[in-house]
Each structure stands twice: as structure tokens, then as C-alpha cells.
């Protein structure tokens, strides 16, 4: 009946995978912050920034986010599932 005690230390691979999952969790928060940043930007004259610059910025961040997400998801997929119990399901 009592829950199986989980060991304090895990294999290096599993540990790495968990940190990659952490990174996958942080990524959208980082993306949201970067996407919302233009709200605070003003040119020295007090006008809005040029649309072309912002397009460059927003699409650049967008591209980086997708590349980051692709890298993380393929990394997470490449390591076999250590157990079906993901870290956040514990406790």
C-alpha cells in the first residue's frame, strides 16, 4: 500500500532528461516575456519603433523558439522513458 520509495539519485541520463524537461517548461515562459517586451519599447522621440524592426525582432524570437522547442523535443524523445512516472507527478 505504501508508495514505492524513489531513490534519491538517478542515472545520469535520466537526470539529464529531467533537466531537459525543465528547460521545455521554462521555454514558453521565456518566449512570453520576449514576446511581450515590445510593449515597453519607445524610440527616443517617444514614437513607436519602426514596424520593420519589430517584425525582425518578433520573427527572430519566433524562429529561435521553434528551433529551441524542436531541439528539446527531439532530445527528450531520444532518451527512453526511465519510468512512467514523470517528476511532477510525484509528491
Amino acid at each position: 500500500m505504501s508508495r514505492k520509495p524513489s531513490s534519491l539519485f538517478v542515472e545520469r541520463e535520466v537526470y539529464r532528461k529531467r533537466r531537459m524537461i525543465d528547460a521545455a517548461r521554462v521555454l514558453p515562459i521565456l518566449g512570453a516575456a520576449l514576446f511581450l517586451l515590445p510593449v515597453l519599447w519607445r524610440s527616443p522621440e517617444g514614437l513607436g519603433l519602426p514596424t520593420t524592426h519589430l517584425m525582425g525582432y518578433l520573427f527572430g524570437i519566433w524562429l529561435l523558439l521553434t528551433v529551441g522547442a524542436a531541439a528539446l523535443s527531439s532530445y527528450i524523445a531520444s532518451i527512453p522513458e526511465p519510468d512512467e512516472d514523470p517528476p511532477e507527478a510525484r509528491g
Partner: protein, 893 residues
């Protein structure tokens, strides 16, 4: 050139192609060749259902009006997809493990399979989707009109008529597409495949137009950027609140839109596809929004002032005389609109038929779900009518709104409407404390505020929302103005409506949840949803009696169809090790059946149907779950079990010991019997032989006769003694003897014993310490004397010393009297010390033939007197210690 006729022909051909693709995919799936149909690529492309005519036409219009603001609609979903690990993964897992058919099913299942909640969600979804469908109809109608206008000498466009034809065409198309099979969880392979194709078409068309605009109409990238800088959207003029608010709104709507839920969760084949889609889908929407600003800017630049910016994607190629590209662009827009309407109508019709039509039909058709006729026919019919109903509602909205609104504005009304589901849904899958009452209250409050501040005003000042209410609030209440609730008039109307509806929705949801108490079924479902990763398997929900399997089979056949239902039942029976088609209605089976049925008619209805047959299960099940749900009670139960098992182990051990003792006693009894027979035989033999001599010999001297007679006498005495001893022992052992308590000193007892024992036979010197013997005893003195006499006579008989000497020492040890009898012989060998107290145990081969019962009797007597007799090793000769308790001991003076 007969562009319009060509257009209609192209449309029909395109639809025919979609049919062919869908049909082929369904066939392939049927024949098991659906491997590539289930790839993550198809899944990602099907998600592009998010990009509707709003994206294809509306985004450019949006950009032409408010610059980069259109991006918010795509940034929100991008963040949700990249953050798939948080929410989507859980939603997909829940959807699969609970066989969820729609977002209404998800919310209703989570809150105890509540029908009321399902109905509410369905109604909000249907109303909320109206503007969205209207948007599609409007865009397709407008695009037809654009071609009609471009046609030389063309008739005057009649947008409303066109929209009606488009609506009817789409309704028929969807009915044919979407209601071919009933079970939503059997997945619409054909539809998904067609959507994937449409996703490719619309992306390709928009990119083609974009490339044409940038490199054809404009002079390449540099020139385009220069045009942007020179346009009236050259600078960032987006208000911060709209930027943040719309990004959040699109993210929420992405999760809550019924059609997104359909493709993301219901049609999901494999959780791993989500991982691929997490980056592939953001890439798709990034590409699709890449050329939006250039198209808008060039359109504003080239096309005559007053052109509808929502149609730039179409009118730019037309203006440039690129009819082929224009038709491609038209097809892109047509694809976007049709795919949205198809999936939205399928999703909504599932909800309508499962949560509104079917429950009503079941109630109307009598109390019992056991009726003849096929429920499937009813369900399919309900879905077909629901599809037509949903599309016609969209048309009604289009007519009411006048068909002149900006596409994006219409879409945002829908977004805000469906976003009301978010608190109940997210609360449901992350917070176990969320209750049905809270979800109901929150949804109602949020939907009402949205309806009042956004949906009704979206028609402009009209009969539904008179100008007076817009200006002065409902009933003239200033604080109830639709655009300035609670006097907050400094806000953009969209942000205002979203902010107030969601804030009050969440507040009500949380407050009511905290102060209400969920039913056991709700709590069980809540635990299963929130902890879906911890235990995918579920605990018992049903307890069925016998004889209901046949009814259940009848029910299942009506919903699933005869053959699949029989196969399902036969498989279940086989798993239970039974022959035939009727398994025991076990908890597992009933739950499995309910899930299977919920794939066709939704969780709440399936639950209601099964409970009608299993009957009364709901009450007892809820009672059961009140126990099962509580971990603490489970723990207690397990502790009790553990204690019980320990008790059982103890009992088993005691039984084993008792058994060992009995076996040992049986062995002892056997040896006792054989020894007794042996002991009796020896004297009997001499008795018989000497009495024969006396009888048969005539010439015996009187001396001889006397000698033989005395032998016979001795042997008879010995026999008597033996039998006396045996009788004595037996009485002692059975506890039948009564001890007579007497009072006397130890000294007098010993005096009596030595006098009796010394009188006969061999001479024995006895050494005593008379002062120490001055102890008063309260015990059976005669029995004690018997023990002492036995010990003294043993010493006299068996001591191997020349002049035997017996030392009797008495001492007091706390509340016991110790009396040691030690002779000066050679003692008893160690290996024999343990057996001397056993019956018939004799040390060595002494000629003095005792029966070997004396010490056994002594031991019994001492036990009865509450003391003991033990052999005392390590003395100069044979030594026995008699121990006796002195309960009331007074030293005699």
C-alpha cells in the same frame, strides 16, 4: 473570361478532390494501411485548422488596420504549443484515458459526469462559435463577389445570397464528411486527411501570393521594407493592454475552441505526435503570418482607396491580372473556411447530439434505455441536423451583423466566448478542489458578462442592444454600460470584455468551489483527472448484479452496432474465462463498456444509460466511493489487514505448537503402555510359573512349598505396589486429587519420615540440621511426607557407598523453602539426569526392582503443591532439591 463560372467549377473539382482524399483515407484505415495517416505530420497539419479564413483574409485586413497587432492571434498559440508539457500533454492523456468526445464531455466528466454542465458548455460553445462560422461564410461570399466585380459586365453582387448558398453547400459537405461513423473515438481519418490537404493548400496559396507581392509587385525584400516604412502602419502603435490581452486571449481560445479540442485531443492518435507538433505547428503559423504585413502594405499602396483590406490576398492578384494566382488564392481561402466549418460543425454536432438531443430523446422514449430500435440511427440523425443547425446559426449571425464587420473583430467575439471554458477546464485538471457548483457558477457568470459586453454589442446598436443601453447602461444604470462595466471606461472594448468576464468567471469559480462540497463521483473523477499521470487505470465505479449482461448487450448493440458490440462482449467474456457473449457484469467490464459507449454518446449519457440497466448502482457506488476515495481510510483498512494477518500468524504458531505437543504426548502414551505391559509381565510370569510348580509337583518339601509361596506373595505385593503407584500417578496427573491443607513444621514432617524410612532394610545414617527445619508449612503434609519418604528410601536402596549417609539441609530463600537431600554415593551420570523423573526410568541395573515410578510421582506431587523437585548436579553424590512455596510462613518459637 468567365471567371465566375470557372471559379464554381474549380470549387466543385476541389471539393471532389477532398472527397476522394477522405474516402481513400477511410478505406486505407479500414484495411489497416493507415500507418502514414497516423503520422505526426498529419497531426500537425490538422492542427492548422486554427488558421481559418480569419487568418487567410482577415489577418491582412487586421494588419492593414492595426499593424503588427494581428500577430497576437498567432503568438498565443505558439506559446501554448511550446509549453505543451504543461497543459496539452495532460489534456491529451485525459482525453485518451477517459475517452473524451468533446470539450463539453471533458468538463462534464470531470465534474461528476454532470449533464447540466455539459448542456451549459454546449450552449456557450454553440453561441460562441456563431460569429466564427459567420466569419467564414462572409469571407467566402466576399471572395465570390470580388471575382464577380472583376468580371466585365458582371451582375451586381448579392453577398447575402452567396453566403446562403455557401452555408448550404458547407452543411451538406460536412454532413457527408463528418457523420459517416458514429464513434468519435474511432476518429475521422478521412476528415483529418482532407484537413491536412487543405492545410497544405492554404499555406502554399498564401506563400505564393506573398512571394508574388514581394518579388512581383514590389521590387524584392528591400523595396518591400521601404514600402512598409513609408506606409501608415510604419510604426508600432499597438496599445500595451491589447497586445498583452489579445495574446492571452488567443492562447486561451486555442485550448478551448471546440474544433481545436477536436483535432488536438479527440483525433489524437499518439501522444508523441504532440511532441513534434510542439515545434512544427509554431513553424507553420509563423510561415503563414510571414507575408501578411507586406501584402497589407502593398495592397494599401496599389489598390484604390476604400478597397476592403480583408480581401487584399485575393484582389491584389486580380488587380495585377494574375487570374491563376487569384484562383489559387481563392482556393486557399476556400480551404481555410471549409476546413474550419467542417471541423467546428462536427465538434459542435457531437456535443449537441450527445449532451442535448440524446438525453432528451432517451427521456422521451421512456424511462428505460432498453428499447427496440437502433440508437445509432437517432444519434446520426441528431448529428446531421446539428450540423445544419450550427451552420445556419452562423448564417443568422452573418445576416444580423449586416455582413460588414471586419473579420478579425468577429473572430475575437468567438475567442472571448469560448475562453470562458478555461477556468473550469484548467481548474478541473489541475485542482482537485474544483467542484461542479463552482464550474457552473463561474461559467454562467463569465458567459453572461461576455454575452452582454461583447456578443450583443457586436451587432452594433440594434434591437437586441439599443443605443440607449450602450450609452447609459441597462435600466439606465451607469455602471452597467456594456463598454464600461463598473465605470471602467478607459479600456479597449475587447480587453474590457475579456478582462471582466474572465476575472469574474475565475473569482466565482474559485469562491463557489471553495465553499461547496463535491459529490463522491466528482471527487473520484477529480482525482483521476488531476492525477492522470499517476494512475491511468481507474478504480471501481460500478457494481453490477447478475442477469444484466443481456440487457447491456442489447443496449450496446443499439449504440455500437450489432457486430462490434458482440465482439466487444465476447472478448470481455473470454477475458473472464467464460464461453459465449455474456460476461459477468463486473466492475471492470462495466467501466470498460461505459467508456466504449461514451465514445459514441458522451460520458454523461453513457453513464446514465448504464446506470438505468445496472439500476440503483449510482447510490451504492457513491457510498462505495466515499470509502474508496479517501486515502486515509484505505490506509486504515490496510493497517487493520496487517494486524489481522499478524494475529493469524500468531494463532497458526500456537496451533503448530499444540500439534507438536499432541504428537509428543501420543508417542509418550504409546511408550507408557508398552512399558506398563512389560512391567506387569515380569511378576505375572513368576506368579504363573511358581503357582504351576505348586500345582503340578506332588513331592515338594514343605520348605520348598513355603519358599515358592513367599515368592508368589512377594511378586503379588510388587504387583500391587506397582498398580498402586500407577493409580496414584494417574490420579495426580489428571488433577483429580484433592490436597488437604494442614499446618505443621518441616521438622515434624522430617522426623516422621526418617522414622518410617530408617526402620526397614539397609542401615542409613541421616544428618540433619534441626534448627533450620523450624519452619511452619501450610500444605498437604501427608503428600509432602510421601515425597520425602521416597527420596530417603531411594538413598537407602540405590546409594552405592559402603556406609550410606544422607544429608538433609533446609534453607529459606525469600518465600520458598529449599530442602536438599544429598547422599554420599557416586551420583547419577549427566546423560541420565534428564530422564530420572520420567515414568519407568531406572538408573543402572539395580537388583532392587523398583518400577521407576517413584520420582515421577514425586514430581507430580510437588507440582500439585505448587513447588518442584529437581536434580541438583555438582554435589558429592546424588542430590535432589525440593522447593516449596511458603505462602504464610511463621518461624516457630
Amino acid at each position: 473570361m468567365a471567371t465566375l463560372n470557372l471559379l464554381v467549377l474549380v470549387c466543385l473539382l476541389y471539393v471532389a478532390l477532398l472527397f476522394a482524399v477522405a474516402f481513400g483515407a477511410d478505406r486505407a484505415a479500414l484495411h489497416g494501411r493507415s500507418r502514414w495517416l497516423r503520422s505526426s505530420l498529419i497531426y500537425t497539419l490538422s492542427l492548422s485548422i486554427y488558421c481559418t479564413a480569419w487568418t487567410f483574409y482577415g489577418a491582412v485586413g487586421f494588419a492593414a488596420r492595426s499593424g503588427l497587432e494581428y500577430l497576437t492571434i498567432y503568438l498565443g498559440p505558439t506559446l501554448v504549443m511550446i509549453g505543451w508539457w504543461y497543459t496539452l500533454r495532460k489534456m491529451v492523456r485525459i482525453g485518451r484515458s477517459q475517452r473524451i468526445t468533446s470539450i463539453a464531455d471533458l468538463i462534464s466528466s470531470r465534474y461528476g459526469k454532470s449533464t447540466l454542465l455539459a448542456v451549459l458548455v454546449t450552449v456557450i460553445a454553440v453561441i460562441g462559435t456563431m460569429p466564427y462560422v459567420a466569419l467564414q461564410l462572409q469571407s467566402v461570399a466576399l471572395s465570390f463577389d470580388a471575382f464577380a466585380e472583376a468580371e466585365p459586365g458582371g451582375r451586381a453582387p448579392n453577398t447575402e445570397a452567396t453566403a446562403l448558398w455557401v452555408a448550404l453547400g458547407l452543411a451538406i459537405f460536412t454532413v457527408l464528411f463528418g457523420t459517416r461513423n458514429l464513434n468519435a473515438n474511432e476518429r475521422h481519418h478521412g476528415v483529418v486527411m482532407a484537413i491536412a490537404l487543405e492545410a497544405v493548400v492554404k499555406l502554399f496559396a498564401l506563400l505564393a501570393v506573398g512571394v508574388f507581392v514581394v518579388w512581383g509587385l514590389s521590387g524584392g525584400v528591400g523595396d518591400t521594407l521601404a514600402r512598409i516604412d513609408a506606409s501608415n502602419i510604419a510604426r508600432w502603435e499597438v496599445s500595451g493592454s491589447r497586445w498583452v490581452g489579445l495574446t492571452m486571449l488567443s492562447a486561451m481560445a486555442f485550448l478551448c475552441l471546440p474544433r481545436m479540442f477536436q483535432v488536438m485531443v479527440v483525433e489524437n492518435e499518439d501522444e508523441r505526435h504532440l511532441r513534434t507538433a510542439s515545434w512544427a505547428f509554431p513553424t507553420y503559423i509563423m510561415l503563414i503570418s510571414l507575408f501578411v504585413v507586406p501584402i497589407a502594405v502593398v495592397g494599401l499602396d496599389i489598390l484604390p482607396a476604400g478597397s476592403n483590406p480583408d480581401l487584399f490576398v485575393l484582389t491584389l492578384p486580380l488587380h495585377a491580372g494574375q487570374d491563376g494566382l487569384a484562383i489559387l488564392s481563392f482556393l486557399g481561402g476556400f480551404s481555410s473556411a471549409t476546413s474550419m466549418v467542417i471541423v467546428a460543425a462536427i465538434a459542435l454536432s457531437t456535443m449537441l447530439s450527445n449532451h442535448i438531443v440524446m438525453p432528451i430523446w432517451l427521456r422521451m422514449s421512456g424511462k428505460h434505455a432498453m428499447m427496440s430500435g437502433d440508437v445509432r440511427e437517432v444519434a446520426l440523425l441528431a448529428r446531421r441536423f446539428s450540423i445544419v443547425f450550427v451552420v445556419l446559426l452562423g448564417y443568422a449571425y452573418f445576416r444580423l451583423s449586416g455582413g460588414g464587420a471586419a473579420l478579425a473583430a468577429m473572430g475575437l467575439v468567438s475567442f472571448a466566448g469560448v475562453a470562458q471554458f478555461l477556468p473550469a477546464m484548467m481548474g478541473g485538471i489541475f485542482w482537485r478542489g474544483a467542484t461542479r457548483a463552482g464550474a457552473l457558477a463561474g461559467l454562467l457568470v463569465g458567459a453572461m458578462i461576455w454575452f452582454y459586453t461583447m456578443f450583443l454589442p457586436s451587432f452594433g446598436a440594434s434591437l437586441l442592444m439599443p443605443q440607449a443601453v450602450l450609452d447609459h447602461g441597462l435600466f439606465g444604470q451607469d455602471w452597467l454600460r456594456p463598454y464600461a462595466l463598473f465605470w471602467t471606461n478607459g479600456m479597449d472594448p475587447v480587453v474590457h470584455a475579456v478582462m471582466w468576464s474572465l476575472t469574474l468567471n475565475i473569482l466565482t469559480f474559485v469562491t463557489v468551489s471553495i465553499f461547496s462540497f463535491p459529490s463522491p463521483l466528482e471527487r473520484l473523477q477529480g482525482a483521476q483527472f488531476v492525477n492522470v499521470f499517476r494512475h491511468t487505470s481507474t478504480t471501481g465505479t460500478w457494481s453490477g448484479g447478475l442477469g444484466q449482461s443481456e440487457d447491456l448487450l442489447t443496449l450496446a448493440q443499439r449504440i455500437m452496432g450489432a457486430v462490434p458490440a458482440q465482439q466487444f462482449f465476447a472478448a470481455a467474456a473470454q477475458r473472464q474465462g467464460l464461453e459465449g457473449y455474456l460476461p459477468e457484469p463486473s466492475t471492470d467490464f462495466l467501466q470498460e463498456l461505459e467508456r466504449e459507449l461514451s465514445g459514441s454518446v458522451g460520458g454523461a449519457t453513457a453513464h446514465a444509460m448504464v446506470s438505468q440497466i445496472v439500476g440503483g448502482a449510482t447510490v451504492s457506488v457513491e457510498d462505495l466511493m466515499a470509502v474508496a476515495d479517501e486515502t486515509a481510510q484505505i490506509m486504515e483498512y490496510s493497517n487493520q489487514l496487517e494486524a489481522k494477518s499478524q494475529e493469524l500468524q500468531r494463532a497458526a504458531r500456537q496451533l503448530r505448537e499444540a500439534n507438536d505437543k499432541l504428537t509428543q504426548m501420543s508417542v509418550q502414551k504409546d511408550s507408557f503402555l508398552s512399558q506398563i505391559s512389560h512391567e506387569l509381565r515380569t511378576p505375572m510370569t513368576s506368579l504363573r510359573s511358581f503357582s504351576e510348580i505348586l500345582r503340578d509337583s506332588d513331592n515338594l518339601t514343605s520348605e520348598e512349598t513355603r519358599r515358592y509361596a513367599s515368592i508368589i506373595h512377594d511378586e503379588a505385593l510388587r504387583l500391587t505396589r506397582l498398580l498402586d503407584d500407577l493409580l496414584d500417578l494417574s490420579v495426580l496427573e489428571n488433577g483429580q486429587v484433592v490436597m488437604n491443607e494442614q499446618v505443621g513444621t518441616l521438622q515434624t514432617v522430617l522426623d516422621r519420615c526418617t522414622a518410617m524410612a530408617v526402620g526397614e532394610g539397609r542401615k542409613l545414617e541421616i544428618i540433619r540440621n534441626r534448627e533450620a527445619e523450624d519452619i511452619v508449612l501450610h500444605t498437604d503434609l501427608d503428600r509432602l511426607a510421601q515425597v520425602f519418604i521416597n527420596l530417603i528410601s531411594n538413598a537407602r536402596k540405590y546409594s552405592d557407598a559402603e556406609a550410606p549417609v544422607l544429608t538433609i539441609r533446609s534453607a529459606l530463600d525469600r518465600d520458598r523453602v529449599l530442602i536438599d537431600f544429598t547422599d554420599n554415593g557416586s551420583g547419577i551420570p549427566t546423560e541420565e539426569q534428564s530422564v530420572i523423573f520420567e515414568k519407568f526410568a531406572r538408573v543402572g541395573q539395580n537388583e532392587a526392582g523398583g518400577a521407576g515410578l517413584g520420582l515421577a510421582i514425586c514430581r507430580e506431587i510437588m507440582q500439585r503443591l505448587g513447588g518442584s523437585i529437581t536434580y541438583l548436579p555438582g554435589q558429592s553424590g546424588t542430590a535432589f532439591r525440593v522447593t516449596l512455596p511458603v505462602s504464610t510462613r511463621v518461624a516457630a518459637q
